[in-house]
Amino acid sequence: MTYLRIWIFNISVFALLNCSTPPLTEEEHKERLRAQIEEEVHVGKMMAERLAGHFGAFFKNPRLVRYVNLVGQTILRHSARPEITYYFAILDTEEINAFATPGGYVFVTRGLLTKIRSEDELAGVLAHEIAHINEKHMYSQIKKDREVSSSETLVRMMSRGGSQMGEAVATMVNKGLDILVEDGLGKEKEFEADWAGSVYVSAVGYDPWALKSYLERIKTQLSTVKVAKTHPPFEERIAAFEKFLKQNGLKAVDNRHLLHRFSLNMSQRERTSL
C-alpha cells in the first residue's frame, strides 16, 4: 500500500510537470520577441530624448558627427543585433562621458572627443556602449519583471491610453536615467562591456588595446568627477581589461594609417569649432 501511494504521488507529479502550457510555436515566439524589442526600443528612445534634453545634442560640426557615425556603424558590421537600428550622436557638454540607452542609441560627449587620440580609441569607446545595448545591461535592470504577452504589448496598451502602462514606462525611463547619470550599471557590467567591446572592435580590424590607452590617459582627470561615480576604479578596470585581452588572444593592431583621416575629422579645430 505504501509504495502504491508513492507511485500515485509520482505519477501525479509527472502529470503536473508534463501537462503545463504547451511550448510556444516558432511564430508565437517570434511575436513575443517582437513585442519585447518594441518595448525596449520605445523606452530607450524616451531615455535618449531626455539625455538630449539634459545635455543638449551637438550638431554644429556635421563632419565630426558623421565621423562618429561612420566609426560606430563600422563596428556594427560584426556586432549588431539585427533587430534594432543603432544611432550615434554627440552631446554638447564638456563632461567626459559616453552613454547608451536600450534599443540602439549611443552618445559620446564633446568633452570625451577632446581626449580621444585615435580612431581605434573612439571605436573602443563606442564599442563599449554598443556592448551595453547588445547585452541589455541597462534594459534588464530597469524592465519590470513581468510577462509581455505577444498580442498586448506595453507600447500598444499605452497607445490606447492605459494609465498603468504609461506609469510603468515612465518608471523605467526615470530609473534608467538615474542609472546612466547618477548611479552607474555596476562594476561587473562595466567590465563586461569593456571585454565585449574589445571583441567587437577586433573583429572589424580596430586595435582592441586602444581603449586601455584611452582609460590610462583619462584616469587622472576623471578620478574626481562624475564618471568615477558611475564606473569602477580605473586601476581595477584597466587591470581586468588587460587580463581579458591577453587571455583571449586579442593582439594589438597597428592602425597608424588611420591617423590621417582621424586628424582630418578630429583635429583640435574640428573638435572645438563649436
Binding site: 509504495y3 508513492i6 507511485w7 509520482n10 509527472f14 510537470l17 508534463n18 503545463s20 502550457t21 511550448p23 510556444l24 515566439h29 517570434k30 520577441l33 524589442i37 528612445k45 524616451m46 535618449a48 530624448e49 531626455r50 539625455l51 534634453g53 545634442a57 558627427v65 557615425n69 561612420l70 556603424q73 563600422t74 558590421r77 560584426h78 556586432s79 539585427p82 533587430e83 534594432i84 537600428t85 544611432y87 550622436a89 556592448a131 499605452m158 497607445s159 490606447r160 491610453g161 494609465s163 504609461g166 506609469e167 515612465a170 525611463v173 526615470n174 547619470v181 571585454w195 565585449a196 571583441v199 577586433s202 573583429a203 580590424g205 583571449n248 588572444g249 586579442l250 593582439k251 583621416r261
Partner: protein, 173 residues
C-alpha cells in the same frame, strides 16, 4: 521490505530525472534547445581555438544554427556540419535573429490594427510621453525631453554604402 525500499528509490530516481529535464514552462522562453545557438553577427567565424587570433576554419552567416558542445568564458565550442571549433558567444544568440525589415513590416500591420481603436489625441500624447495626466514627476523636470534632437539624430544615420567606403578606405574588414 527490500521491495518497498527498491520501489521508493526507483520512484525518487525517476522524479529527480524528470525535474532535472528542462520543463515545458522553461521551454516557452527558449523554444530552441539550450544547446543550440544562432549566429547573430553578419560576419562570424568558427575558430580552431578559443582565441580571437586563432585560425579561422569556417565563415558563418547570420542565422546559421550551431550546436554547442561546451562553454568556456566568452567562448562556445560549437559544431556545424562536420566542422567543430570555437566562436565567441558575443556573436551568437539563443534566438533565431529577427531582421529589422521583418520587424518594420510587423509594426505597419500592427498600427493598422491598432488604428481601429485609436484613442483621443490628448490621451495618446500623454501616454507616449510615458506619463499620464497628473503623474508628471520631478524626474520629468530633472531630465527635460528633446524629441526633435532625436528625430534629427535618426535622420543623420549614414548610408550603408558610405560605411562600405569608410571600411575600404581604412583597410578594415
Amino acid at each position: 521490505m527490500v521491495h518497498s525500499i527498491f520501489a521508493i528509490l526507483l520512484s525518487h530516481l525517476l522524479l529527480v530525472l524528470e525535474l532535472s529535464t528542462p520543463s515545458l514552462v522553461l521551454a516557452q522562453d527558449a523554444p530552441s534547445q539550450p544547446d543550440v545557438v544562432f549566429v547573430q553577427s553578419a560576419n562570424a567565424e568558427i575558430r580552431k581555438e578559443p582565441k580571437m587570433n586563432a585560425e579561422s576554419i569556417l565563415n558563418l552567416n547570420r542565422g546559421d544554427q550551431l550546436t554547442v558542445i561546451s562553454k568556456s568564458g566568452i567562448w562556445l565550442q560549437v559544431q556545424m556540419g562536420e566542422t567543430k571549433g570555437w566562436i565567441s558567444k558575443l556573436f551568437t544568440s539563443p534566438n533565431r535573429p529577427i531582421g529589422n525589415a521583418e520587424l518594420t513590416n510587423q509594426e505597419v500591420q500592427d498600427q493598422s490594427r491598432v488604428s481601429r481603436k485609436r484613442p483621443k489625441p490628448k490621451t495618446v500624447s500623454a501616454a507616449t510621453r510615458g506619463l499620464v495626466a497628473g503623474k508628471r514627476g520631478k524626474e520629468e523636470e530633472k531630465y527635460k525631453r528633446d524629441p526633435s534632437a532625436i528625430k534629427r539624430i535618426e535622420k543623420l544615420k549614414v548610408k550603408e554604402t558610405e560605411v562600405d567606403s569608410f571600411i575600404k578606405d581604412g583597410n578594415l574588414q
